[in-house]
Symmetry: C2
Subunit: 220 residues, 2 copies
DNA sequence: TTTTGGGTTTAGGTTAGTCTAAAAATAAGT
DNA sequence: ACTTATTTTTAGACTAACCTAAACCCAAAA
């Protein structure tokens, strides 16, 4: 099954909106996500339905099919591998990679992706800490919780941020937090939920609850 | 000036057909090169003319403008940088890179190309020995001659092949010749023009005139 | 100088992806 | 259950890039 770049983008959006499950997604939501008009979405849904990558019943939203899910995960895999490449090899900053990866992900060449994966040493997570599906679409999921929900004295590793806006990523950089950092909860303020964490056993950072709930970690 | 992928491809073709100069090129030739129909070419020429990257006078062929030449060289630069990447970093073979580079060259990101260039250590030639234009469109040209035209005992370095078909590139690999190899002419047979060369001061290769005139070298 | 043939352009049609405006279906409130 | 509000779809139009078939230009040969 071959999809155009636009079809790949819609499918990816549908996959994301259905939280990776086959939850039903509305036309309006897709239009918002894709920054197109609902009319354009209807058109595209008909096409994707015909290609059987989604189940489409007029007026009732769509569900992604197993086939569609596999294709969406392929695109996500490509996107995230390119992000790793851009950050690790070409020294892009976190907040510069998305647009470019959005273009690179549509290059059609299984061999390219296979070789890129090897070149990058088979990374399991992208620079934002999101897992990279393998070539069969399998994802190594780790239970990730916001550090605002960890207990005092618990340790873990930062693996992702929820809001990966440029502003937030710059904040992360500035305070010295980063994906992969080992952290330990030093203190939590009951009153406002702010927390103090120790990064890499040396640097202590104090942050508001808002910030802390934006940073996801796996416990260890 | 922003060009679509198709426009970039046409411009590149026109540039190639005019031998890098502003020689006039015919609609039919462009159609052949692009594997499209003459009618489609006419359409495109009108558009490129309006964008002033070519001078287009109906029925009289086209000339590339200085602006067009600069854009064509940008695309060629991107194509060749990606080829270097594919061969040197991802271990692609010579004959596997073209199609993929053809897609990659259309990614729009000056920063990406800048960083890629640095990552590859500012290469001056692609894996086929063709020169990589710099960001201003300047090309380091070296006088290249087929090794069939070198004299006995002359030395040089292989920098390109004329016919870079998969078959020929495989032949090169097989006999141990490659872009960058230092060669010396050991013998030339008057009768049929075949030559014997010494590669890297150790391996001797015997080849027909046909083959020898396909391999370009710079003398040293 | 007129004919003829090859190259080139125009006319009109197709597909992908988008849009606006209007119609239709569903959902919600009384 | 009926009317209204919201969501969704259709209808019709646009652009980019292609196509085929027909018309057109130009130049070379008779």
């Amino acid at each position: 099954m071959n999809l155009t770049a636009a079809e790949e983008n819609y499918l990816k959006a549908i996959y994301h909106l259905s939280d990776g499950a086959s939850k039903s997604v509305s036309t309006n939501d897709i239009a918002a996500e894709m920054k197109t008009k609902p009319a354009s979405v209807s058109d595209m849904l008909r096409k994707l339905g015909e290609k059987e990558v989604i189940n489409y019943r007029k007026y009732y939203g769509v569900n992604i099919t197993p086939e569609g899910k596999k294709l969406a995960l392929q695109t996500i895999r490509k996107h995230r591998l390119w992000e790793v490449f851009l950050v690790e090899k070409l020294n892009f900053a976190w907040d510069e990679v998305h647009e470019v990866a959005e273009e690179l992900e549509h290059i059609q060449s299984p061999l390219l992706i296979q070789r890129l994966d090897a070149f990058l040493n088979y990374p399991k997570f992208d620079p934002h800490g999101d897992p990279i599906p393998d070539e069969f679409g399998d994802v190594k999921a780790r239970p990730r919780i916001p550090i605002s929900e960890m207990e005092i004295d618990q340790s873990g590793q930062i693996v992702a941020v929820k809001d990966s806006s440029a502003a937030f990523l710059r904040y992360m950089d500035k305070v010295g937090a980063y994906i992969g950092a080992r952290v330990k909860i030093l203190d939590k303020v009951e009153f406002d939920g702010s927390v103090e964490i120790l990064v890499d056993q040396k640097k202590s950072i104090f942050m508001s609850k808002d910030v802390a709930s934006n940073i996801l970690a796996v416990q260890s």
